[in-house]
Amino acid sequence: MSVQSKEFNESATRYTADLTHRGWIQKALAGYYVKRDEFRNRYQSWPEARKVAAEVKWEAVNHLDRYLEEFASKLEARGTKVFWAPSAKEAREYIVDVARQNKVRSIIKSKSMTAEEIHLNDALEEAGFEVVESDLGEYIVQLRQEPPYHLVFPAMHLTRKQISDLFHDKLGSEPTNNPEDLTMIARAVMRKKYCEADMGISGTNFAIAETGMISITENEGNARLTTSLPKIHVAIVGIEKILPKLSDLALFLPMLATAGAGQPITCYNTLYGGPRQPGEPDGPQEFHVVLLDNRRTELLADAEQRDALHCIRCGACLNVCPIFKNVGGHSYGTTYQGPIGSVITPHLRGLQEWKHLSSASSLCGACTEVCPVKINLHHHLLHNRRNAIHEHFSPFEKIFQQGMTFMMRHPGLYKFAAQMGRLAQPLQRLVSGTVLDPLRPWTKTRSFPSLAKKSFRQQWAERKKS
């Protein structure tokens, strides 16, 4: 068992037993379900819209080389510096270099899961730069020094009391139980930071090949400010974020908002096509776009699971996943939680270390059903399980399966084994769930059903006689 798997089991066991946490997450998501359904129903056809979205992403991902070249050359034509980063390390080094060369003093950052993926903040802080997260949820988890709980709602696991205590501790603010007051405390802190910062870092929701633009979706306006005031803007773009045409946004912007947050449209959807252009009053002097591979091409090479790169990171699959809702976002130990995280993490970080996530699923298919770009999520969990076995066959499992096959094929032997089971069960009952119990992995949290007193074959034979 991998270290990651052990940690997952421990954390999942702890969270699953925490009924307060479970109730809290259910409550936090209840409003989302209502709003999501309300706005989905306004579509003339949500299922047809999903089909189009899936098709557009298929086109983009399956011609990724062509679209990336178009995207990069259009950006470069208007003065953007495009850096191609084969791995996380190169991306980090490039961004730290940009900060060093410009003698940057303070960095403001808007929410980016890709930056989380490459542990950018740690690298910048190690190099001596102060980085402040400007998204309210991200700022809260940054102050708590913990990773985001959910890829869209980073602080959804916290109550207002916890946040008030945190702000009181770290910022010296008066305790309050009003979410508006808490938001205004963060707003005041952040206003100063925007005005001072000389470098802004953002993520990207969509990369438009046709016009060479990045599109950022946000509600708070923090990304707008992060990309308006500092003299340098660095945007990190996973190579799979490509959309072929500008007009594709007419479909993707509303779908992302509805699927991910139960909104008709997100408050700010902003396109950036370069640094400040001649005649414009503000905007950064330098605009850097970091195109990140970081093993996305390995997932691309798996044609069967290639559609996992269609993901627009809306988080809809997390919100409906019975596993996510019970084990919580932190148990995954990954940048991307929930079903999509369980599918892609083995590709991005190693199958043997992360295969356990693909088993942490009831295969109910709720994730596949809600995915706005129709990723075949729960089947990919099965594909991961199969691939893990192919790659690393367990000899014990093999012997066990061969033994079972042999027994099932020999009725006499099967009958004998069933009889032995009936005799042994009263003995097992005495030690059920304890370390002496050979069935402990099962009986530790569940009871083992009683074997029938008489087998079907026995009953059949008896009834036929009478």
Binding site: A28, G31, Y32, Y43, A49, E55, V56, E59, N62, L64, L68, E69, A72, R78, W84, A85, P86, L136, F153, R160, P179, T183, A186, R187, R191, C195, T211, M213, N219, E220, G221, R224, L225, S228, S247, L249, A250, L251, L253, P254, P264, I265, C267, N269, L271, Y272, Q277, G279, P281, D282, G283, F287, D293, T297, E298, L300, A301, A303, E304, K374
Partner: protein, 233 residues
């Protein structure tokens, strides 16, 4: 060692990996459900998105409904004086001392009647000056009926920060700027700017908001707490 081999650039490395990976074709999503079905791209997605009426009057009505649902204020005004009159009411209620704006046909005319001290962003500005403004007065590219969004760009809204830094954003628009949906809005700016695209283009849908604390809606997270859209003939 053998012949001098050129060092591959990062760009070549990534594109090489992609081309290698794409040698094996992936199954097509359109045919997951019903084999032989026509490509979903054959039909414009507007057909599946929330419906928008044909006439301009109905579109303005829909814009108003959607914008108000997003907690923006909408008002159709007969002329510039009516706009200025309404802004004077807002200014005295909000205790405005200073506004930020850019020059333009509408913003100039309205500001003249309003007569408040102002920060003009046209030729650059001091960040703290703009930050201390009580309101921002801008134009826009389009109003989108389907979503209740205001589309702004750097040239139509006095740069990047003006529409997001002061706490109350006032948008001035003309009736002919109302468009049915996002797709038409994007098409319009594409035709207007061709290759000289502004560096920033933004769809603003209601005042700034967050739900990061207990998923409870709070307005004015980092951007404006209030958004007012005033429509002129």
């Amino acid at each position: 060692m053998g012949g001098a081999k050129e060092i591959m650039t990062n760009r070549e490395i990534i594109l090489g990996r992609i081309r290698e990976a794409l040698k094996i074709a992936a199954p097509h999503p359109a045919f997951h459900d019903e084999p032989g079905e026509a490509s979903p791209l054959a039909v414009s997605p507007e057909k599946w998105l929330p419906p928008v009426a044909q006439s301009l009057d109905q579109q303005i009505e829909l814009f108003q409904k959607n914008a108000e649902d997003l907690r923006a204020e909408f008002r159709a005004c007969a002329n510039v004086s009516e706009v200025a009159q309404h802004l004077k009411t807002l200014a005295s209620a909000g205790g405005w001392k200073k506004i930020g704006r850019h020059s333009g046909e509408l913003t100039d005319a309205v500001a003249r009647e309003l007569g408040l001290p102002e920060v003009l962003t046209d030729n650059g500005y001091a960040v703290n000056d703009l930050e201390s403004c009580d309101a921002a007065l801008t134009g826009c590219e389009a109003l989108v009926a389907q979503t209740g969004s205001v589309m702004v760009s750097a040239p139509s809204a006095g740069g990047r920060a003006l529409s997001v830094l002061p706490p109350h954003h006032i948008v001035l628009a003309r009736r002919n700027q109302v468009v049915p949906d996002l797709s038409v809005a994007l098409q319009r700016v594409q035709e207007k700017y061709q290759d000289k695209f502004p560096s920033m283009l933004s769809f603003i849908s209601g005042p700034s908001r967050t739900g990061d604390i207990e998923r409870i809606l709070v307005l004015g997270a980092h951007g404006p707490k209030k958004l007012t859209i005033l429509l002129l003939p």
